[in-house]
C-alpha cells in the first residue's frame, strides 16, 4: 500500500501525465482535420481510452495505415491527475501557514479538473433561430435528430412524441403508449443523398409509397458521414407505420423535408400526415428539440458595418423575454460577449439570416460554467499568497542578525 501511495503521489507521475496530455492534445488536433471538432472530443477526450490511426491523407498511408497507437483518453488522464494531486497533497501536506498558498493552488487545480468532468457530463449545446418579428420557445440540437409524431387534433396544443434517431435501427419496431400505432424502421442513414431515378439508371429506388415518396421519381442512398461539416449531414430514413386497423404504408422521412430548405416540388406534399382512430398525425425527422417554458421574441436584429466598408462592426439581437408563468415581459439585448443567462441556459449571439432577416442564438446548458472561474481565481490567489509568504520569509531572513553577521 505504501509503495502504491508513493507511486500515485510522485512528481514523476505528474510529469508523465502532463506529457501524455500534451501528446493526446497534439494527436487529437491533427485528427481534427479528418474527424471534426465534435467527433474528436468524443474519440480523444470524453473517453477512457483513445486510439490514434495513421491518417489516410498522410504520405505512404498504404504502408502505414495499420499503425494504431492506443492512448489514455481524457477521462483516464483527468482521473489519474486527480489521484496524483490528492495523494501528493496528503503526502506532503503540513498544516502550517507557509503552506497555505500551496494548498490553495492544489485546491484550485483539483477544482479545475473537476470542472472538466462536470462540463463533460452536464454541458449541452443547442441553437435557436428567430425571425425578425418572430418568436421561439424551443432550442434545437446541432447533432441529434428525432423522429417525431405530432398530433395536431387539440386546437390549443400539440402532442409531440419524439423518438431519438439512435432507436431507428433497421428492422426494429417501436411502440409507445402515446402512439396508437407501431413504427418499424425500414432504413435509416445518418447521411444521405437524393437523386432522380430517371437521371440515374440502375440506382436503387425508394422503398416508400406514401407522402412525398408517392408517385415520385426519387431515389435515396446512403452517403458517407461528413465529420468535418457535421451539421450539414442529411439524415434520412424509411419507416413503416402499422395501426390496429391496418398498415399506413411506408414513409420517407428526412431532415431535408422538415427544415427550411425543402425542394419546391416536394413542398406540395408536406407536412406528411396520416389518420389513426380519428386523429391526424404528422410524421417528420427533425433536429432534437427542447421546449422552453418561455418565449424569446426578436424585435429587431442590428448588423452595423464600419462606414464605407463591408466589415462588420456589431451584431445585436434586440429581444423580449416573455414568460407567462412568471409574468415577465422584458427587453433583453444579446450581442457578442453579452449573452442572456436565463433558466439555466445561456443564449449567445451566433449568426444571422440572409438580409439580416433572422438571428441565430447558440444556447448552452452548463451548470458548472462558473467552476473554471472559481478555480482560476483560487489558483491565482494561492500563487499570490505563496509568493507573498515566500517574500516575507526571505525578507525576514535577510534582516535577521545572523544574516547581517554573515555578509561581507
Amino acid at each position: 500500500m505504501r509503495l502504491l501511495f508513493q507511486f500515485f503521489s510522485s512528481l514523476r507521475l505528474t510529469v508523465t501525465l502532463l506529457a501524455l496530455s500534451m501528446v493526446l492534445i497534439l494527436l487529437a488536433t491533427l485528427d481534427q482535420g479528418q474527424w471534426g471538432v465534435y467527433e474528436v472530443q468524443h474519440r480523444y477526450f470524453q473517453t477512457l481510452l483513445a486510439f490514434w490511426h495513421y491518417p489516410e491523407q498522410w504520405p505512404a498511408a498504404d504502408i502505414f495505415d495499420r499503425i494504431t497507437i492506443p492512448l489514455p483518453g481524457g477521462f483516464l488522464l483527468g482521473g489519474l491527475l486527480i489521484i496524483n494531486l490528492l495523494c501528493a497533497h496528503f503526502r506532503h501536506y503540513r498544516a502550517t501557514w507557509d503552506k497555505a498558498g500551496i494548498t490553495l493552488i492544489h485546491g484550485g487545480l483539483a477544482l479545475l479538473i473537476i470542472s472538466g468532468f462536470a462540463t463533460a457530463y452536464f454541458q449541452q449545446e443547442y441553437y435557436m433561430w428567430l425571425n425578425v418579428g418572430g418568436r421561439s420557445n424551443y432550442i434545437q440540437s446541432f447533432h441529434d435528430v428525432d423522429l417525431v409524431f405530432i398530433d395536431h387534433t387539440d386546437p390549443k396544443e400539440d402532442l409531440v412524441v419524439s423518438i431519438p434517431s439512435s432507436r431507428l435501427q433497421p428492422g426494429a419496431t417501436i411502440s409507445n403508449p402515446a402512439l396508437p400505432f407501431t413504427v418499424r424502421t425500414v432504413q435509416y442513414y445518418p447521411n444521405s443523398q437524393f437523386y432522380l431515378r430517371s437521371q440515374n439508371p440502375g440506382a436503387p429506388g425508394l422503398d416508400a409509397d406514401q407522402g412525398v415518396a408517392k408517385n415520385r421519381d426519387l431515389g435515396l442512398s446512403a452517403k458517407s458521414y461528413d465529420y468535418i461539416n457535421d451539421t450539414q449531414n442529411i439524415p434520412s430514413g424509411i419507416i413503416a407505420i402499422d395501426a390496429p386497423d391496418g398498415p399506413r404504408g411506408q414513409w420517407l422521412v428526412s431532415t431535408l423535408l422538415s427544415g427550411e430548405l425543402i425542394p419546391p416540388f416536394l413542398a406540395k406534399d408536406l407536412p406528411q400526415t396520416f389518420t389513426v382512430k380519428g386523429h391526424t398525425w404528422e410524421v417528420a425527422l427533425r433536429p432534437h428539440r427542447e421546449y422552453l417554458p418561455y418565449y424569446i421574441h426578436l424585435d429587431t436584429f442590428i448588423h452595423d458595418k464600419y462606414p464605407g466598408t463591408d466589415v462588420p462592426r456589431r451584431f445585436e439581437s434586440q429581444t423580449h423575454l416573455i414568460n407567462s408563468a412568471t409574468g415577465e415581459d422584458r427587453p433583453v439585448l444579446i450581442y457578442m460577449n453579452h449573452p442572456l443567462r436565463y433558466g439555466g441556459l445561456t443564449f449567445y449571439q451566433a449568426s444571422f439570416g440572409p438580409n439580416d432577416s433572422a438571428s441565430m442564438l447558440q444556447v448552452v446548458r452548463n451548470p458548472g460554467w462558473l467552476l473554471p472561474y472559481f478555480s482560476v481565481a483560487i489558483v491565482g490567489f494561492g500563487l499570490a499568497l505563496h509568493f507573498l509568504l515566500s517574500l516575507v520569509r526571505h525578507l525576514r531572513e535577510e534582516s535577521s542578525p545572523s544574516a547581517a553577521s554573515s555578509s561581507p
Partner: protein
Amino acid sequence: MTTRGLIISLAASAALLLAACSRGGDGDIRVEHTPKEDAPPPANMADQPAVTPLPIPASADSLPPGHPPIASTTPAAPSMSGGSSMTALPGMTEFVAANPTPKWSPPADWVADPPNPVRKGSWTIPPASNAPAGAQPAEISVNVFQGQLGGLLANVNRWRGQVGLDPTLTDATLATCVASLTIGGLPAQLITLDGPDGRSLEGAFVFLPDRVWSFRLTGPTPVVTAQRPAFRAFLDSVQWPN
C-alpha cells in the same frame, strides 16, 4: 494518512469517472404537450446541410424531365423564403454566392426583385395597366447551378413541360427550338418556347465544365413575345467577371 489519502483519492477519481461516463438517457422516447408552433424561421444558408450534387429542379413549378404530373389535394406548403418563388436546396446558396455576379444592363421596365440568395438576378415585369384582371406578371431570372444539371436536352424538356408543351424532345429534334449564340463571349444555347395554354418562355444556357448559367424569361405569351428583343439585348449586355 497514507492509506486514507490513497482511498480518498481513488474514490474521488472513480466517482468523477463514473459520473462522466454514465451520461445517458439519450435513447428515451419523450412525450410532450407543446404550444402550437409559429411559422418556422428562414434558413441561414451557411448553417444548413449541403445539397447533394445530383441535379434536382430548382424552379418552383418544375418537375424532373419525364416526371408524371402529381395530383395532390393537400394545400401547398407556405413559402419559407420571404416571398421568392424559389426555395433553396441546402448548399445551393453557398455555391451561388461563390460565383461573382456578371455585369449586365437590364431594361428600364424590368422591376428588380429583392435580393435572393439562390439567384444571381431576378426581375418582374408587372402586368400592363390595360391587362385583363388576373393577368400574371412575367419573370426573368438568372441562376448558376453546380454541375451540368442533367444536360441541355433534359433542361429543354423541363422548360417545355413548364409551358405546357410535350417534354419529349430527343437529341434529333432538339434543334427545333434551340439556337446557338454567345453570351459574354461564351457559347450558349437559346431556347424559344410558346406553349398551348398562353404561357411562353425564352431562355438561354451557358454550359461551363463544372457549372451551368441559366437565363430565363417566362410569362404570358403576349408579354414574352413583346419582351424577346429586350431579353436578347439583355443577354448581349452580359459581361462575365474576370
